[in-house]
């Protein structure tokens, strides 16, 4: 049957062992890609004719920003699947995303702020892009706070899932904010139609870093998902085989 894979993904023991098997396949490439990307970005990529070496902040700022949106989107999709098909594992995925998303968003804001000092002459401006990115941080933190405040785990899953799904509206707002409003923040150089407005010597390190960050997110998500599944499956007998192995 074509749908058996989907049903298997609803089974906590299957997902637990699948996550355990997959983690190293994401973790080691992530380490290699991030180290290689850092070397390319810091030492090999040419300096910018306008910004000098300060633009090298881009190699951590932009992947963090992409990840913050990708983590939120993942969280919202998992939450929606959890709501629609009442899938416990999907709620566990959504719960595992929140802390990871908050740190990527934090990194985006801090590195952007540091980059702003030499290029814009200010660490912070209440600019649409910056403001909505700050809102995203509060969405991740609010999700975790709401989850912590509700004692019944199933109710916590449902209520936080609604919050996550409704909040996904901020993802396109952040992406298009630089086009919809007059923004201090530059418009997209890579995530747009047509050719990226960057030479390959500068673009390749960025893509290597972005891929590394994506793999890192996958490895961290799978690890947190296993923890989440273990603490949720209180009565299940398969737990015994897993922890004694």
């Amino acid at each position: 049957m074509a749908w058996t894979w989907f049903h298997r993904l609803g089974s906590p023991p299957y997902v637990y062992s699948l996550a355990a098997r997959l983690t190293p396949w994401f973790a080691w490439p992530a380490a290699a890609l991030i180290l290689y990307g850092s070397y390319l970005g810091l030492a090999i990529a040419p300096e910018d004719y306008q910004q000098g070496d300060s633009y090298r902040i881009m190699y951590v700022h932009v992947p963090s920003a992409w990840m913050s949106l990708m983590v939120y989107t993942t969280m919202a999709i998992a939450a929606a699947v959890g709501l629609i098909w009442r899938m416990k594992v999907a709620h566990a995925v959504a719960a595992s995303c929140a802390a990871l998303g908050a740190t990527f968003t934090f990194c985006t804001l801090v590195t952007g702020s540091i980059w702003g000092a030499p290029t814009w002459g200010t660490y912070w401006e209440w600019d649409p892009r910056l403001t909505f990115q700050l809102v995203l941080l509060f969405q991740f933190l609010g999700y975790s706070a709401l989850r912590a405040a509700i004692e019944d785990p199933q109710r916590a899953d449902r209520v936080t899932a609604v919050l996550a799904v409704v909040g996904v509206v901020n993802v396109p707002i952040i992406h298009y904010s630089v086009e919809w409003w007059n923004s201090l923040h530059q418009t997209a150089s890579v995530m747009k139609l047509g050719k990226p407005s960057m030479p390959p010597e500068m673009l390749v390190p960025l893509l290597v870093m972005a891929l590394g960050f994506t793999f890192l997110f996958a490895a961290l998500l799978l690890t947190r998902l296993r923890a989440e599944i273990l603490s949720r499956e209180r009565a299940a007998s398969w737990i015994r085989d897993v922890v004694n192995a």
Binding site: I34, S38, L42, A43, E47, G52, D53, S54, R56, I57, V60, H61, S64, A99, L100, T103, F104, F106, C107, V110, T111, I114, W115, A117, P118, L216, L220, T223, R224, R226, A227, E228, L230, S231, R234, I239, R240, V242, V243, N244
Partner: protein, 62 residues
Amino acid sequence: MSEFFEMGGYARYVWPAWGIVFACIVLNIYLARRALDRARFEARKRVAMKAVDAQLKGEAAT
């Protein structure tokens, strides 16, 4: 080499930005592994408690 670390005069912006991101990555790896270790420990404890319970019940029955 020192030229590399000076980052064309932008060292005080470039290095803290990279440092914070790498610190966040390391912290995230640590926290995720700690979460899994704790969940495993708690699960092992629950399994052991259940085994003890079952044994006690068995002894009480005989």
